[in-house]
Symmetry: C2
Subunit: 145 residues, 2 copies
Amino acid sequence: MNDAATTGYMLEDLAPGMSVSSSRTITEADIVMFAGVSGDDNPIHLDHDYASSTMFGERIAHGMLGASYISALLGTRLPGPGCIYVSQNLTFKAPVHIGDTLKTIVSVREVNEERKRVVMDTRCVVGEQIVLEGEAVMAVKRKKN
Amino acid sequence: MNDAATTGYMLEDLAPGMSVSSSRTITEADIVMFAGVSGDDNPIHLDHDYASSTMFGERIAHGMLGASYISALLGTRLPGPGCIYVSQNLTFKAPVHIGDTLKTIVSVREVNEERKRVVMDTRCVVGEQIVLEGEAVMAVKRKKN
């Protein structure tokens, strides 16, 4: 007995090619807050002087920050509430710097009606550059049975 | 020219079986903060009434919260600062509830000196129950060349 705001897609309503995205400019605050929540205070994320001495040249965002935006799209929009996160593969392809505008995209690749599983392509891009990619498997309920 | 606080293990100092862990009791605040940072406001994480009506019976933590603790151990302790996150696979095996004490463990499985890569076993447990497991690949610098 859930209302619309708490109900995501049912299995029968999902089809390959369906896609949603979000976009945000990564700020110092996003990185500081992720460090606080995760406990990951690696200086590459928090220490300008240290980060300047590395191959990255500046502080970079936590890779898992992008992963958390993927998780947010899956959990709130496609498939949305009611689905269960089964697995996620992540390949970190390039760093994300403060000021980069990160676009996160999740798309239905495959719907397995028998197993009630949906395979999603998941990625984050900055401009044309893929910075994070992988796939997620979600368990999604059927309307019937 | 990094001091000890900002230097992790070098490749030659890593060996299969090395392991570190962290442990924390998951609070409502952890979930609320992760929702804020990620934007994942799925009601299964935030809405007691909704969550009570689901198979989980109560609000559960975001799966990516456990993943963020894995990332923290990798980035700050083993291998620690200086390593680069190449990839992470995650399988979500069981829900984590408020009040559960989550132990996160990362262990060196394989060191590939030629490719400068380390494969890590990564998992989160509540008591004896594995709630999240997977593997990470890290790029780690050599002392020489």
